[in-house]
Symmetry: C2
Subunit: 607 residues, 2 copies
């Protein structure tokens, strides 16, 4: 059986940073070449970052991506890395518009492609067939689907190349791969993390291998892009669906693996499948019993095919098989990377946040320290006349445990003049306190250049239990998609993780165990206004992720009055959510582009 040394490069691109991303790609190709790989594959849109959203409708952006892809091929060659086969995803265009209508409405002019590079040139391109247009994805909006499958023949093996969603579709390109008898199915991806996604992603990779009796190599990008977090977790499975190599989550990685693959057969290809013959890299080590396809249409590099079939001189390697951590560690890792990448990719040197001594701000502070280092985290305690003693002492304790910068700004003298001048009381006065805190954080941010972190969690955001322009101020909300019960779980997990490693648990025990309170009036607790959080979170899970209606929720055993109140709160808080900071998506239905609902909404006669 022919042997192929395959490298999967899990890089962390920044959207738009064609130069920087190219640099990362060149560095990874060099490492792959040094490791003796024949073929190195990068993730979907690794050159441009993903998702590019409506940048796909700008001709200048598409042209720049295409230019950069060609330049990259040339640069690789100039750097002596020309012979290794490189597969890189990027947007391509502008193409003749796919007109949606006869109006002058926007049209799609881009394709989502994988470019295959060798010896200084882009020798082949594959355009994604299936364009996801659900959840956070808007690809049908912006891309023209491809209609031709691509098979790369190298070292006597046929490698079929598809992109992300193509694998998820039954009856799509993946099925035509079977008829093409490919020895390897290479899937390049930009697949965002979700809590339970591993439970569907890996079984699907396995299924595709078994269905098609072929090895499957799955390469994903890694890193945060706004609300999305790509977890990497690139994997290779054999024809029986067994994992033979796996990259770790949440870090860039080069995964190198030797694969003994079914040799290519010389036969007619199914309709709409192009085959391209590639030269064997000089460092190659493959074995091949199949002659090169000289004269085959679409074989730009046939002249180099004499190098094919050279047996390897390299020592066999043992591929990494990363162990997937438990769920809480995964979630923590996702949130830390999402936060850290937002900070780094947007050029911030530090973050600032309010520390109330409560669980949310404590967890965010610990997360920020894990993401960018405690020396770049600034905490501000902003006690009011209603703040408990423990709110200050717990915040002090947290700051000391983490070792972050810490200051106190009392708000009473700032609140009173506004309260008195405007004659505010009740909720208006409570909100005022939160807004003065917002002003303090934004003022310090403007003065010193910190990014403000919002500490609200998903449960609060769902029911609107926060003050807009108050505790909601900030550019990034790490807990935006984390329900309150999970915030507690994460806090306990993070402390346990520290203890296990002999480190100081970052979060004060009292912040975890005390009843949650906004402390905007004397003796207030969250449960004055809301059901117990276990009930609230269970209800929100069914309403938001499950899409159940009132009648169905009551049938599940939730109290009728609670259902009515919570549904109403959720529906009428949409305007606040629309103005809220972004935060890392970890659930199936995160607030934001994942869940698009009207603000103006008056449900009557809806059960």
């Amino acid at each position: 059986m022919p042997r192929l040394r395959l490298a999967l490069a899990q890089t962390n691109p920044i959207v738009g940073d064609l130069e920087g991303n190219s640099g990362e790609i060149v560095a990874a190709v060099r490492r792959a070449r040094d490791a003796g790989a024949d073929l190195v594959a990068f993730g979907e849109m690794a050159l441009s970052g993903y998702p590019i959203e409506d940048l796909a409708s700008r001709p200048s952006f598409l042209a720049a991506c295409r230019r950069r892809a060609s330049a990259l091929a040339a640069e690789l060659d100039a750097a002596g890395l020309g012979d290794i086969v490189v597969v890189v995803g990027h947007p391509d265009g502008p193409f003749e518009p796919r007109r949606f209508t006869t109006s002058n409405a926007p049209t799609a002019i881009a394709q989502n492609v994988a470019s295959v590079m060798q010896n200084g040139e882009v020798v082949a391109r594959y355009a994604k067939h299936h364009l996801p247009n659900y959840s956070v994805f808007d690809e049908y909006r912006i891309f023209i689907p491809g209609d031709e499958l691509l098979v790369l023949r190298m070292r006597g093996v046929d490698v079929a190349l598809i992109i992300c969603e193509d694998m998820w579709q039954d009856g799509g390109p993946v099925n035509r791969v079977a008829s093409a008898d490919a020895g390897l199915l290479l899937v390049i991806n930009a697949s965002p993390y979700e809590r339970d996604k591993n439970e569907v992603r890996l079984p699907l990779v396995t299924r595709r291998a078994v269905e098609n009796d072929t090895c499957v190599a799955y390469v994903n990008i890694v890193g945060g892009q706004d609300d999305l977090l790509f977890d990497g977790d690139s994997v290779v499975v054999d024809r029986q669906g067994r994992i033979v190599a796996r990259a770790p989550q949440f870090v860039p990685h080069l995964l190198v693996v030797d694969l003994d693959l079914e040799g290519a057969t010389v036969h007619d290809l199914p309709e709409n499948v192009a085959r391209v013959q590639l030269a064997a890299p000089e460092t190659g080590h493959g074995e091949s019993g199949v002659p090169p396809m000289t004269g085959d249409p679409g074989t730009p590099r046939a002249e180099a095919s004499a190098a094919d079939g050279t047996p390897s001189a390299l020592t066999p390697i043992t591929a990494d098989i990363a162990v997937v951590p438990d769920e809480l560690e995964q979630i923590w890792g996702a949130l830390v990377l999402g936060l850290g990448d937002y900070v780094r990719k947007n050029g911030f040197g530090s973050v600032i946040l309010g520390l109330s001594g409560g669980i949310d701000s404590s967890v965010v502070a610990a997360m920020a320290a894990d993401a960018i280092g405690a020396s770049k985290v600034y905490g501000v305690s902003m006690p009011s006349r209603w703040s408990s003693d423990h709110s200050r002492s717990d915040a002090d304790d947290l700051a000391e445990r983490i070792g972050l910068h810490y200051e106190t700004q009392a708000i009473a003298d700032l609140v009173t003049p506004v309260e008195e001048q405007l004659g505010l009381d009740g909720i208006a006065a409570e909100n005022l306190q939160a807004r003065i805190r917002g002003i303090i954080l934004m003022g310090l941010s403007n003065q010193r250049g910190h990014l403000v972190l919002t500490t609200g969690n998903k449960s609060e955001l769902a029911v609107g239990y926060s003050t807009i322009y108050g505790d909601s101020v900030g550019g990034f909300a790490p807990l935006k998609d984390v329900p309150k019960m999970l915030v507690w779980e994460l806090a306990r997990w993070r402390n346990l993780f520290a203890s296990r490693r002999g480190e100081t648990p970052p979060i004060p025990e009292n912040s975890i165990s005390k009843p949650p309170s906004a402390e905007l009036r004397p003796d207030q607790t969250d449960q004055d206004s809301l059901p117990e959080y276990d009930v609230l979170d269970a209800l929100l899970e069914e309403y938001i992720n499950g899409g159940l209606g009132r009648t169905e929720l009551i049938a599940r055993g939730f109290d009728e009055a609670t259902v009515d109140r919570i549904i109403s709160l959720v529906d009428h808080s949409e305007w606040k959510r629309r103005q809220s900071a972004i935060g890392t998506k970890i659930s199936r239905t995160a607030f934001g582009r994942d869940r698009r609902l009207p603000i103006t909404y008056r449900p009557t006669d809806v059960a």
Copy 2:
């Protein structure tokens, strides 16, 4: 030729308000019946409001819509309105999911349908074929496309029924109408207003009439739904494409017209076209030489068809042909209705806004008074130590001209304590002033229940020339899609409009003519930081609506340094826009769901 009396009912639905919208429909049907109409058609989703966004993925919501449609048919019959044929748009489902992938990702379970009602029942349904998924539309995300065309035979005429986007697609259902030889093409729509849309919409209606040698009746909903404004402007054109009836923009309207139509021929239908025979209404007045299609499959009401062919006893009517106002009046009308409907549909009794004496807040105040009446508009002057005398006197003047509620809240005593406690200066101190104003407006809003209006314009929002959580606070931003130059034009137009009607021009001349300034430091003007607004707006138009890149903009004659600076400002203000209030879309590319771009974006190597 058979004559049909057609009514187009341009109603203003509220999303989700199935009960309220039904009530409006029943009232309109009664008026249509009283006017002797045979057929009354409502807009797309007139029963549910439009767009319903991801409500389309909730089975309970879809089931409620379907139930309500059946109930509506029964209620019409019970009210003695059963014989008139009623066409109403609504979402329908839940259907067997259209699976996008093999994952547990969301699936489409809804259709966008038109129900045809008569004698207490829904006698036929048409499902939209073409699902717009560009600009503000996400229909491919949420709907299952239909695959059968529907022809209604009544009074000897074949009426083909399609929905909105179906008309915009060449080669779509509209072409099959030609083969079905329909005498009337009825198109129900939810088509949002855009400045130049009339220039494409009406010519297209005309073209479809001429292409298919058929009358075309185009009915649109009216009213504001979040950022979208439906302008109505329902129209009927004859076989030569001449306008024979036209409803006014921006108001609900019942348009009734007598049409002499090509009689139906008895012939085989093209594939995938269903024909339904309807009874002639008792008040009918049509003429028909074509026998009813007894025994035709899909003819549920054939038993009633003996009533067909009764000559009319009604006096012929003269249809309204509304005159389309000039562009500035149209824009003003759109913005006033968008604002007014946001206030009304979300249950607010009043609005509050800061009055700086500048052009933006003056225009918004005038618009709010036009939308909901001056007695519901509360203006607050919030002078600082840097405020000019004219900022106060112009605001005073405005308040008096409009007759709105007016108060002054000086900010100096509220700003100083914060400034001193935090040690703020420079931009941080400037932003603080704006944020104290935001706190005042939000405090008064919370205390008294007003909706806060944000007065920023599109040019400011584009370049981020505003203070987040400061002057940007509020639930609705009437000028969000209005560039600064257009704000001035609208101000001049509104004053002229008042003068022509012998009314007091609402906007002080000095607010229009003085140089714009944020007045956050002494002698500041906007042009300290920005190019002249005529240049800025021209550049923004090409960059945002035109999608041009840097090189192209420079080639159009814009100064290179200006291009670089403005592009960078626009690209890096996305995070502020994401947290901004919604406002009425009037351009081809409004900020919001119309223009989806990343926050994290580092363009390098992009020309």
